[in-house]
Subunit: 235 residues, 2 copies
Amino acid sequence: MAQTAQFPADAVRPALAVDIVALTVRSRRLSVLLVRRLLEPFRGRLALPGGFALPGESPRQAAIRELAEEAGVAPPGHLEQLRTYGPEDRDPRGPVVSVAHLLLAPAWGDLASGGDAAAAAWVDVAAARGLAFDHDRILADGLERARAKLEYSALALAFIPAEFTIAQLRAVYEAVWGAALDARNFSRKILGSGIIQPAGLAGPGRPGRPARLFRVAPGLDPASAALNPPIIRPA
Amino acid sequence: MAQTAQFPADAVRPALAVDIVALTVRSRRLSVLLVRRLLEPFRGRLALPGGFALPGESPRQAAIRELAEEAGVAPPGHLEQLRTYGPEDRDPRGPVVSVAHLLLAPAWGDLASGGDAAAAAWVDVAAARGLAFDHDRILADGLERARAKLEYSALALAFIPAEFTIAQLRAVYEAVWGAALDARNFSRKILGSGIIQPAGLAGPGRPGRPARLFRVAPGLDPASAALNPPIIRPA
DNA sequence: CGATGTTACCGTCACTATGACAGTAATCAC
DNA sequence: GTGATTACTGTCATAGTGACGGTAACATCG
């Protein structure tokens, strides 16, 4: 029992990693950001973006850095911790604890190559199977989290740009839930929720009556704002 | 680039720990299981039960083992991962990643001493402040998770024994939320939700009309069953 | 120019869920 | 018995819900 406290000698010290489930909605379909691995293990397989944390980094900082390296930009949107996996039976190289994160963001296009992975790409979630490591399960957990959060929070707003139409917002719900929603009832609920504010009229250019534009209500944080009453996903 | 894949040389390897926010309801008050630390750092301070993971252990297994060591029993109730904290600025001995867990359970009495902590004890959450490490924050996160989960899931059932009265179940909600609920409306909602099943009549012994006993509906898992419609906490 | 198709928006209606509250039933203590 | 205590049942006005019919404003085509 030394006076200066030390770790127990037998403390487990796994490598610390992060993985990111980055979701977006492209042309009415839910997509996830994937990279192709250039190194072993699982070389050539698709995987979630991620990697090992650097000294002094928090998992959140590591997630942001990895996204910047593998996707070329400081990620927009909403980033939150998903859950933690490991350390056993995840990586043939040894014990790894991975703190998975969930990013909900508008689609961005500058997908650069970097790090130990080829250029990242958006992949339809329905086609994202057979991923490296335990990433199939992490993706499934991230999808379920996203689907559940849309019911009771304003997080659908994280998927779209600052100005948007109600149809765009509805398309987010329909893509994430994979179900059609009644446009009229959806408008009523969103407009009555107070989370959005009129922002002019959308310019013409497409057939049909021009839609009204909206933006997030001032002082409202989509990440923490509760949706009241909620919008429940259909069975 | 060796053919046999290895970890990056500069991979961070923090110690892996678990902490447990173990909540229960005792005499209509929400309580958390705390231990008094016998070793540095934070010697003498109250802390959440927890400790370092052993080789080959999952965080969940480590949480169950630590609860058994510090509280004397294999914990009943519902155990889930809460979130992960660290690795920086948590422990003066160095970087520690702690995977916090949330346990919702009926109160149990065999609180034994063990490990590097004095006997565990149930403490009213309103009095649980000034904990060691970042445990004040972990406790706050666990409380918020528990309060939110009671709205949309059947997890309140994890707090009470197999057979219970509706008043007991309502007492769980009132203790966790710190708010009074209308007994008549609560009964209507719970009975209409289909999550419980009649199980006879409570024996007399106390003043008042004897209450009906209920048990969890067959085939229903309180951890995953959705409460529909939800029971929203009052503002 | 008008006809047609497309998209967005507005309103109605029956039904359900909700909060608030009044009243009844069954026990215990005395 | 009386009163106190706890449990249970029912009512009612109002808000929220899903389903759906109709109207408004654009583009494109003949």
